[in-house]
Symmetry: none
Subunit: 241 residues, 2 copies
Amino acid sequence: MKLQNIKIVMVGTTHPGNIGAAARAMNNMGISHLSLVAPQCPVGETAYARASGANGVLDNRETCDDLPRAIENCSLVVAASARRRSLPWPELSPAELALKLDSMDDSNHVALVFGREHSGLTNEEIQLCNQMVCIPANPEFSSLNLASAIQILCYEIYARLGTAVPPGKVPDAHDLPAPSAEVEGYIRHLQTTLECCGYLDPEQPGMIMQRLRRLYLRSQLTRNEINILRGMLTAIEKQQN
Amino acid sequence: MKLQNIKIVMVGTTHPGNIGAAARAMNNMGISHLSLVAPQCPVGETAYARASGANGVLDNRETCDDLPRAIENCSLVVAASARRRSLPWPELSPAELALKLDSMDDSNHVALVFGREHSGLTNEEIQLCNQMVCIPANPEFSSLNLASAIQILCYEIYARLGTAVPPGKVPDAHDLPAPSAEVEGYIRHLQTTLECCGYLDPEQPGMIMQRLRRLYLRSQLTRNEINILRGMLTAIEKQQN
């Protein structure tokens, strides 16, 4: 599913700063469709200031009188809520939601519905939704800022849907982990140098070489790094002669 | 690893609202240690208002003059940054960071370092960190609000670590990643030795020290390893005299 098919629906928002911060969070994650249901504040200077340049999201918002209107073209409607109801609704984690969207094709439209700052969504509103998504949080301080909740869900979705094409830059071969033979060549060189400078007793090597080996294998040395490390050893040897 | 062992470090923050919003985001996700490095604003009414009740995080914050001081007891230091450097630092996704923390035991302390609102972290600051974590974002609008970035990382960590972690075997302290101050001590020692043996020209150091730094920070050196590496340097110096 394309990010363009996802709509963020904010119901009864009272603080314009939250609308602006939500627009920025959405735009950061490549999501641009914002729908305001019965907003309780103007979308003006405060909102645009907090949007920090995500003006397009605010300019192109839609405003609806009620939730059914906002979601009418959506085949999946998901309510974001921390509150448990007497009749629990099917619940997804944010990661499960992203997985689900990833499995849907581009003919679908999806709404993610966020409630009021202080009272969330009503039971009636939740019952218009197919599922709920619950953001895990500290049970002793579980109320997230509205725009932060939108940020988390948009991030989860973008991380799965928006990054499908990896950046094309191929690293230089000398910045990739070197083949084993080159690493072993370095370790042998290191051992010889340490014996020459008296740090390592060939008769009683103890655990030192094993520990150094573990360190350098763990590091997955690149060719560039091996060149530097061997250059050091050569410089040290010259000093000794 | 316990959430209590994780510290959020904000460097040079200019907006008190971001400090307050960060405190709320942290508390929502069960993370309470906040460290401010050279803050450029007071932590007063605006910050407490945006914290929305997460007062304990603000009350118990620490303030440091510079980043080395804030991270001195940390065995893993991760820079949050969207910026690519000419010498790229090892990078984690937020999910990979959470996995990594999940695999570490309670003897470790971890710092997540966030830069200034407009200019992020300096190259020098990033080079004090073991790794970078990059939040995937819309390449055309990639600048996240500072508190939003903190929210996303804390969420990823809480989603993985927030449930009880079974206690594991506690390894010897000398086989655990060493604190930053000890790693920095080794890197200084290395540089001195390399200058003495003529491998490094103090006037034209080039990229060598940066590459060595990247290697050793990536490796998360243990105390035992640092002892071995410094022992080598001492042996080499004796040969030179």
